[in-house]
Amino acid sequence: MRVRSESILPYGLLAPTLIFIVLLIVVPIFQAFLLAFQTAEGEFTLIQFQKMLADTSFADAMKFTFLLLMFIVPAQVVLALIMALLIHTRFKGHTLFLYIYALPLAISDLASGIVWLSIFTERGFLNSILFQLGFLERPFLFLSYQNLPAMFGTIVVAESWRATAIVMVILLAGLQVIPRDYFEAADVFGANTLKRTLFVVLPLLRPSLQNALIIRTIFAFQTFAVVLALAGRVIPVLAGESYNWYALNRNANIAAAYATLVLIFTVIATVIYFRLLRTTAAEAGFD
Amino acid sequence: MAGIQFQSIRKIFGKTIAANDVSLEIKNGEFMVLLGPSGCGKTTLLRCLAGLERVDGGRVFIGDRDVTDLAPRDRKIAMVFQSYAVFPHLTVFDNIAFGLQMQNRPRDEIKRRVEESARMLELSDYLKRYPAQLSGGQRQRVAVARAIVMQAAVLLMDEPLSNLDALLRLQMRAELKRLHSDIKATTIYVTHDQVEALSLGDRIAVMQNGRIVQCDAPMNIYDYPANKFVGGFIGTPPMNFLPGVVRVNDGKPVAVVGESQIAPSAALASALSAKNGQPILLGIRPENLALAPSQQANTIRARVRVVEPLGSHKLLTMQVGSEISKVSVAPDQRVAPDEDVWLHFDPEKIRWMDAASGEAISSIV
C-alpha cells in the first residue's frame, strides 16, 4: 500500500499544474490548431495552407524569420558569453554589473519596441548623437525600406539588447557549475584566454548552451512586436504574419496556418539542438 | 536496545540490483561495519534499514519489530549522513535539538540532553553558531551529536568520516569508538575504508555486487579472507596472489609456482589433493613474506624492483615470475633494486584459493 502511494505522489503533485495548463493552454492551442485545417464554415481542408503559401508575404516571412534567427541567436550567444565570462572572473563590483546586464530580462517586447523606435527613428536619439558629434550632416535613415540591411540590423540590435540577458544568466549559471580546476588546468598547460574559452569552457558549457539556444530559438520564432515596431510590414516574419492575418486582416484560419508553421519549425529546431548538443552522462562527468 | 535482522533484502534500481537477497543479523549493541567498494550496495542496505529506501523484497526487523513498512520516523533509529546533512538554517543547538523537538519533549529536558551530547562531542562552545560558521570537522560532530542525542536503539552511520582530512579522520575514528563504548547503541557503519572497518567494527560485513561475501570479526577477515576479492580489498598494500598449479607427489599436494614448490599446511592437504593439476592462487599478505639468503623449503626466486622506506617498515615491490608482489620487511633490511633474492613463504599464513572462482579453499571439504 505504501509503495503505491509513493509512486503516485509525483503525479499528484504535478496534477494541478497539468490540469491548469491543459485547460487553459493546450485546449485553446488545439482549437486554434484545428482552425488551420478548417474553412471559415468549419469543413476540413488544406486550403488555408495553400492560401498561406500563395500569400505575397510568405516567402519573405520565411526568409526573414530564418535570417533573423541566424543573426540574432549567435549575436546573443556571443554577447552573453562575453558578459558571463567577464562576470565569472568575479572582479570587484561584478555583482553590480551582473544586475545591469540582467536588467532587460524583465522588459517586455512592447516596451522594448517603444525604446528602440525612439533611438532608431529618423530624428531619434542615435541620429541626434551622430549629428551632434559631426559624423552626419543630416539624419541617416535606419528604418528605410530601401536600406533593408540597416533596417534588419536595427532589429538584430534591439532583439540582442532585450534577450541577451536571459542567455547571459543561463550561461553564467552554467559557468559556475564548472569546477575551477578546469580553468586552472588549462592555465597550467599554457592556454591563453581565447584558447581556454574555445577548447575548455565552451565544451563544458554545452548543457547550458543547449538550454539557452532552445529557449532563445523558441522565443525568436515568436518575436514580432519589435519587428513590427521597427520595420512595419517591410520585414515580415512568420509570427508577425500570423498576428497580422489574425488582428488586421481578420482571417483566423490563415493566421492559424502560420501559427502551426511556427510551431512545426520550433519543434524541429528544438529536436536539432537536442541532437547536436546532446551530452551523454559520461561526458557530463557524473556517474 | 535492539538487534537487527535483514531477511533476504532485495532492492533494484532500474537494471542494477543493489541488494540481492541479503540476509544479515546484528546483535544488540554490536558495532557492525558494512564495507565494500562504491556501488556494492552497502549504503542501499543502510537506507533500507533507515526506511529511506523501500525494499523490493524481504523483511527488516529491529528488535522483534517488523519495520519493513514503517516510515523512517517510526523506526526509532538515528542516522549520521555522509554529507552530515546539518540544517544550514538552524543553529548548532537547534540542529541537535531538532529530533527531540519533533518528539515534543519538555524544554528543560531538551536543553539538558542537547548540552550533554554537545559536551560529549566538544561542541559546548559552538551551540549558538550556524553551520556555515563551523569547520568541516565541527559540522561532522554536530551530525553525530544530533544522532546520539536521540538515544535511539539503533545508530546508523553512512561514511561519516569520508569528507574529513586524514588527520581529523584518525582522531574522529577513535572518538567514535569511545562513543560507542559509552552509549552502546547497536551501530551500523557504512564505509569503503578498510582501515576504519578494521579499527571500529565488532564485525565487518564485506559486500560486493549487492551481496555480502564475508561477515566476520575484523582479524578473521584480515587473516582468512573468504575469497580473492576480500583479500584484495582489505589491507594496505593488499594481499599478494601468486598463481600456481597443484601437483600431488606421493599423496602429498604441493603448489608449483615457477620453479619452486610450496607445501600447504597439513590441515589443507586433503582438500588440495582433490585439485590435482588445477590452477591455484596463493594468497599471502606482504608482512608474511620474508627475504631468505638462499633457496630452501617454501622459497621462490624474485627480483627487487622498487624499494620504498616507509619509516616503520620497508615496502618492496618484487617481480615473481611475471607477477608483481609487495613485500613488507623490517626497516633495517638491506636490499637494493634489481637484486635477485629468495622469498620465503610461511605455509601457515598462506590463503589458498581456487584460481577459477577465487574462493578460498577451506580445510573442511
Binding site: F33, M83, I107, W161, V177, Y246 | P72, R73, F87
Partner: protein, 275 residues
C-alpha cells in the same frame, strides 16, 4: 619578472573593466534615453537634434499619462493580477517543481518537454477560444480571469524554475529530518521550505514581472478592467509619441526595481531549466 607580471595584471584589469563598462553602457543607454524622453517637455520629444541631458526636464508628459483615466486603475489592476498570479502559480506550481526535482518517474521527461512545447505556439491567435471559455466561466472582463490566464501561462516557468531551486536543497537534509521524526510534509515545511524561501521569492518576483509585461491575454480577456500593458497598447497606435514614451517607461520601471531585488537569485532561477 614580478613587475612584468603585475604590469600584465594591471593591463588585464583595465581591459576587464573597460569591457564591463562598455557592455553596461550598451545595456543602460536605452533605459536612460527612454527615461529622458518620458521626463521631457512635449517640445523636447520632437526636437532635433535631441538633447542628451535632462535640461528639458518636465513631469508634464508623465503627469498626463498618470492622470489619464484608466492608467492608475490599470496599474492597480496589474498589481492585483500579478499578485494573484504569483500566489496561484506558486501554490500550484511549486509542488510540481518539487516532484520534478525529487522523483524519477515515468513521463517525467515528457512532462518537461510538454511545458516547453506549450510555449511554442504564438499566443495571439488563441484569443477566440479563450474569450469564449472565459465568458462561459463568468470570468470574462474580470481581473481574476486575467490572473487565471497568467497563472496558466506562468506555470511552465514556475515549475521549471522551482524544480531548479528544490534541486539545490540536498536530499540528505530532508532525509535527515525524516530520520529525526518528521513525515514528508513536516520535513518539507521545517527544512526545505526555510531553505528555499529566498529562491522561491525570487521566482515569485519574476513571475510578477511576467504577468506585469503580458499584453495579449490581458487585452483579449478584459474590456473595462485593463492591465497596464493592455491600457498602453490600446492607446498606442493613435496616441502621440510622448504618451508612448511615458507608457514605455512606466512598464520598464518595475523591471529595474524587481531585477535589483532578485539579483542574487537570478542564477539559481535560470541555472537548471530544461534538464
Amino acid at each position: 619578472m614580478k613587475s612584468s607580471l603585475s604590469r600584465r595584471h594591471i593591463f588585464n584589469q583595465i581591459f576587464l573593466y573597460s569591457a564591463a563598462i562598455l557592455l553596461a553602457l550598451w545595456t543602460l543607454a536605452p533605459l536612460y534615453l527612454i527615461a529622458l524622453a518620458a521626463f521631457s517637455t512635449k517640445e523636447a520629444v520632437f526636437q532635433w537634434p535631441k538633447l542628451f541631458l535632462p535640461t528639458a526636464f518636465s513631469t508634464e508628459t508623465m503627469a498626463f499619462f498618470v492622470s489619464s483615466t484608466g492608467v492608475l486603475d490599470s496599474v492597480w489592476n496589474s498589481v492585483v493580477v500579478a499578485l494573484v498570479t504569483v500566489a496561484a502559480s506558486l501554490i500550484l506550481g511549486a509542488p510540481g517543481g518539487y516532484a520534478l526535482a525529487r522523483f524519477r518517474f515515468r513521463g517525467r521527461d515528457a512532462i518537461q518537454l510538454g511545458f516547453l512545447v506549450s510555449k511554442m505556439f504564438p499566443t495571439a491567435i488563441l484569443s477566440v477560444p479563450l474569450a469564449v471559455a472565459f465568458l462561459q466561466m463568468d470570468l470574462y472582463d474580470t481581473i481574476w480571469g486575467v490572473a487565471l490566464m497568467h497563472t496558466a501561462m506562468a506555470l511552465p516557468f514556475v515549475i521549471i524554475v522551482t524544480a531548479g531551486i528544490f534541486v539545490g536543497v540536498p536530499r540528505d537534509l530532508e532525509e535527515a529530518a525524516q530520520t529525526l521524526g518528521c513525515n514528508r510534509l513536516q520535513a518539507f515545511l521545517r527544512v526545505v521550505a526555510p531553505l528555499t524561501i529566498p529562491g522561491l521569492a525570487a521566482a515569485a518576483i519574476f513571475t510578477f514581472v511576467l504577468s506585469w509585461n503580458e499584453v495579449f491575454a490581458a487585452t483579449i480577456l478584459t474590456l473595462r478592467n485593463r492591465t497596464l500593458p493592455a491600457q498602453v497598447l490600446s492607446g498606442l497606435s493613435g496616441s502621440p509619441l510622448y504618451y508612448r514614451y511615458a507608457g514605455g517607461f512606466f512598464m520598464i520601471l518595475p523591471a529595474v526595481v524587481f531585477i535589483f531585488a532578485i539579483r542574487k537569485y537570478l542564477l539559481n532561477m535560470w541555472g537548471n531549466i530544461v534538464r
